[in-house]
């Protein structure tokens, strides 16, 4: 393997944003026909490395080499023309355009006039290959994040890359879609494409990577070949200390019902959902992408028109907006942090306090109190920001997610609905967040966790609800919570689902 000359490499690359250096002399190489995994904590510099490789940002020092020569490109577009394609961590799609228009953006088919039919057919073929039911003429704006990620992947695959760089492509996908992605990655590897892959799901790294590079605080701390590192070893190398089992072990002792939902419908998909949430309980909700979990949650907090009965502490309530939900002690953390969660152009402080601003002084806001809250959030959630007054959009993806969590929990809600809590968060911080959720429940708060991450659902939940096609497919509690049982409900077919279980 290692005798092959690298296709794309970094030599002594440094990168600074303003006065702060983020990467301190990185040497790094990608080889044809190999999957190279880059792992590291949130903010370690993975995405920055990928952007440098892809020509989107220039290194402050050092060199990018393609086929042993200085890379001939100065922009992402030129890099793409040279066969270096990046799937960005943040979406790189024009929201007003359709799927097909995005996939062919910049290299449309047709001479003078666009050949819509050919592009639509091409898109359809790509999506079919990805086993995705997305319609080529759907607008990106109307798609859920997971679908947007699939479009990103389709777009990258259509580029005929020599080098494909993937920045956490699986973070917003469900297991079924991840399988599809892996098939594609394996196909490309077989075709001799050089692949770079990042993920905070270490089992994916173990499965895919021929080589692993571990990054810590902008420097390479470990290089390994396939099989040399266990998942624990990777985690230890990343975090710099040993990690215990990341899931809290003890179960809670739920009290009375704080939230009862009956015959709840969120048109057009979610229908006739009934369940109860008890004090001091962690309730997991599992399901396929598009099964309506997000719609259900958004309906509960008044973000979507819904019908049915909601009782809070036994009293029927009407919740028509997030404010009313907040007034009843309910908070929701969205799965779409870029479009619905954070103001990317604003700084950390303004984002953190936005939904609970009334607590920071009236009529005049107290900057000191806001700063204090930010200080606490940074400490509690281990948010790594080079500077406090930076735009949130320049935070690393995982740190954005941590900030969003901090923001949601700042109001001390009694009921928290968390949609994909650890999307893009590194293993070290994950365990902190799980401990946090555990502590919330222990304090007598109630938490609903919507997650596409099976171990997370299994490891956290006292009870699991499974949704399918907008309806509740079943409920599991205590000893009955097992991967097989959940998958069986998720798939909706009893027997053959069991066969699938170990893939998930």
């Amino acid at each position: 393997m290692s005798v092959v000359a690298p296709v794309l490499e970094l030599a002594g690359v440094r990168k600074s944003f303003g006065p702060i250096e983020i990467l301190h002399g990185i040497d790094f190489a990608l080889h044809a026909g190999e999957v190279h995994a880059l792992i590291g904590e949130n903010g370690a510099g993975k995405s920055t490395i990928m952007k440098i490789l892809g020509g989107f940002i220039a290194p402050s020092a050092g060199e990018v080499r393609l086929d042993g020569r200085p890379a001939p490109y100065h922009s992402g577009a030129e890099a793409e023309a040279a066969g270096v394609v990046v799937i960005h961590q943040e979406f790189n799609l024009a929201p007003d355009l359709t799927v097909a228009e995005n996939i062919y953006l910049g290299r449309e088919i047709g001479r003078v006039f666009l050949d819509h039919r050919a592009m639509r057919a091409g898109t359809q073929a790509l999506l079919d290959e990805l086993d995705s039911p997305i319609r080529p003429e759907a607008r990106i704006r109307d798609l859920p994040v997971s679908d947007r990620q699939m479009v990103e992947i389709a777009k990258a695959l259509s580029r005929k890359a020599r080098v494909l760089i993937m920045d956490e492509p699986s973070a917003v996908l469900t297991s079924r879609e991840v399988e599809v992605l892996f098939r594609q990655i394996e196909r490309l590897r077989a075709q001799g494409v050089a692949l770079l892959y990042t993920s905070h799901r270490l089992e994916e790294v173990t499965r895919l990577a021929d080589r692993v590079t571990v990054l810590r605080d902008g420097a390479v701390v470990r290089r390994a070949l396939r099989g040399e590192l266990t998942e624990d070893g990777m985690a230890t190398a990343m975090v710099g200390r040993d990690l215990e089992d990341i899931y809290p072990r003890k179960r809670h002792h739920p009290g009375e019902a704080v939230l009862e939902v009956r015959n709840f419908c969120v048109p057009p998909l979610v229908a006739d959902v009934s369940f109860a949430l008890r004090r001091g309980e962690v309730l997991g909700i599992s399901g396929l992408v598009g099964s309506g979990r997000t719609e259900l949650a958004e309906g509960l907090v008044g973000l979507r028109p819904a019908t049915g009965e909601i009782r809070r502490n036994g009293v029927p309530v009407a919740i028509g907006s997030v404010r009313e939900a907040a007034a009843r002690g309910m908070a929701y953390l969205t799965e779409d942090r870029k479009e619905r969660g954070l103001l990317l152009d604003k700084n950390l402080r303004e984002n953190l306090t936005l939904s609970t601003l009334a607590r920071f002084g009236a009529p005049f806001l107290s900057a000191a109190r806001e700063e204090a809250a930010l200080g606490k959030a940074i400490a509690d959630f281990d948010i790594r920001a080079p500077r406090r007054d930076m735009k949130v959009g320049n935070l690393s993806g995982g740190n954005q997610q941590k900030l969003l969590l901090a923001k949601t929990l700042l109001g001390d809600p009694e009921i928290v609905i968390i949609d994909e809590p650890t999307r893009g968060i590194d293993v070290g911080t994950k365990s902190q967040i799980y401990a946090f959720i555990d502590a919330l429940a222990a304090e007598g708060k109630s938490v609903i966790v919507i997650s596409s991450d099976m171990p997370e659902i299994l490891g956290l939940s006292d009870r699991v609800l499974v949704m399918r096609h907008g309806r509740l497919a079943g409920e599991l509690a205590g000893e009955r919570i097992s991967e097989t049982a959940v998958v069986r409900l998720v798939m909706g077919t009893a027997e053959d689902a069991a066969g699938n279980a170990h893939h998930v």
Partner: protein, 331 residues
């Protein structure tokens, strides 16, 4: 069943219906007009309304591209006045040498297009190279063009030589197969614009840039060039509009083209193009232009309580037309 239920709310959906909003408003206006006056649907009146929509219409088609790609141009009205002024002065100056005839008119047209192109280029370069907000750039050039034409006219009116005028007149007043030239040219511009927006890279890139310019840049779209092109195209169309305008009135002054920019932008927005960019609808713009000129026409057909209230009724109809459109799309 499984696939269909897995995908919420993406199927047979509304755009088709909502797009009909402005058209519906237009139809209602036509019905209202026909109801108010028997001559409303006469060939003469229809020709009048369409021909006079042509100037703003062509400009609004160009404006659609500018707005779609996230820009704005407040200078078009003054630009039209300036182009008309320069064109007339040039034709008067060339007259002794060239004499009245087709070459002179063609020379005038070429000058109008050239000045339009340069004016658009100026706006475009200030926006793309100097990176100044389009609002400020074109507010500035609006003042500049307006003031230059006043200066050229020495505070008065620049008039085309009478003989040339007579010769040039048919370009506005006559036509082909009974359809006036301005209508034909406007139709051609509208169709070309619609095709350019929907079926060429240029239109696609305008939408992409207006939607998210960073994405467009990452996708190898030459963002600055496309932006520049939209302003140049608009400048050219202002030139073309001027070519049709000069034979109509034969003069230019500091008040020529006053408030055209507002009317053009309004037509674009009424037509359903998003002011923030990202989505352009050329045929909607055409409908918007027609709505605006029909309102004027209908106000002239009816006898109102007071002419002072024209503006109020106009305002109400504009808002209603858009309510109608939104209403439909909400349905």
């Amino acid at each position: 069943m499984s696939d269909a239920t897995l995908r919420p709310a993406t199927g047979l959906h509304l755009p088709g219906l909502s797009a009909l909003g402005p058209l519906l408003a237009l139809i209602l206006l036509v019905v209202l007009g026909a109801f108010l006056n028997d001559n409303f649907l006469s060939a003469g009146n229809v020709t009048n309304v369409l021909a006079r929509s042509a100037f703003i219409g062509m400009i609004a088609v160009g404006m659609t591209f500018v707005i779609t790609s996230g820009g704005l141009d407040l200078s078009v009205g003054s630009m039209a006045a300036f182009i008309a002024g320069v064109m007339i002065l040039a034709m008067n100056a060339l007259l002794p040498g060239m004499g009245v005839g087709v070459p002179l008119v063609l020379a005038g047209m070429a000058i109008a297009l050239a000045v339009g192109l340069l004016a658009g280029l100026g706006n475009g370069l200030l926006v793309t190279k100097a990176r100044i907000e389009p609002f400020i750039v074109t507010l500035g050039t609006m003042g500049i063009f307006r003031s230059l034409v006043t200066w050229l006219a020495d505070g008065g009116t620049i008039s085309l030589d009478f003989g040339v005028r007579q010769f040039y007149r048919p370009v506005y007043y006559s036509g082909l197969f009974g359809v006036a030239w301005p209508i034909l040219v406007f139709a051609a511009v509208a169709i070309a614009g619609q095709i350019a927006m929907r079926h060429t890279r240029f239109g696609r890139y305008c939408e992409a840039i207006g939607s998210n310019d960073k994405v467009a840049l990452y996708s190898a779209v030459n963002v600055d060039r496309i932006r520049l092109l939209t302003y140049v195209l608009l400048g050219l169309l202002v030139g073309l509009a001027t070519i049709m305008y000069v034979p109509r009135l034969g003069s230019a002054s500091g008040s020529t083209g006053m408030l055209w920019e507002l009317e053009a932008i309004a037509a674009v927005i009424i037509g359903g193009t998003a002011l923030k960019g990202g989505y352009g609808r050329v045929w909607g713009t055409v409908v918007g232009v027609l709505i605006l000129s029909l309102i004027d026409n209908i106000l002239n057909l009816a006898d109102l309580v007071s002419p002072y209230l024209n503006g109020a009724i106009q305002g109400v109809i504009i808002v209603l037309a858009v309510v109608l459109q939104r209403g439909k799309s909400a349905a």
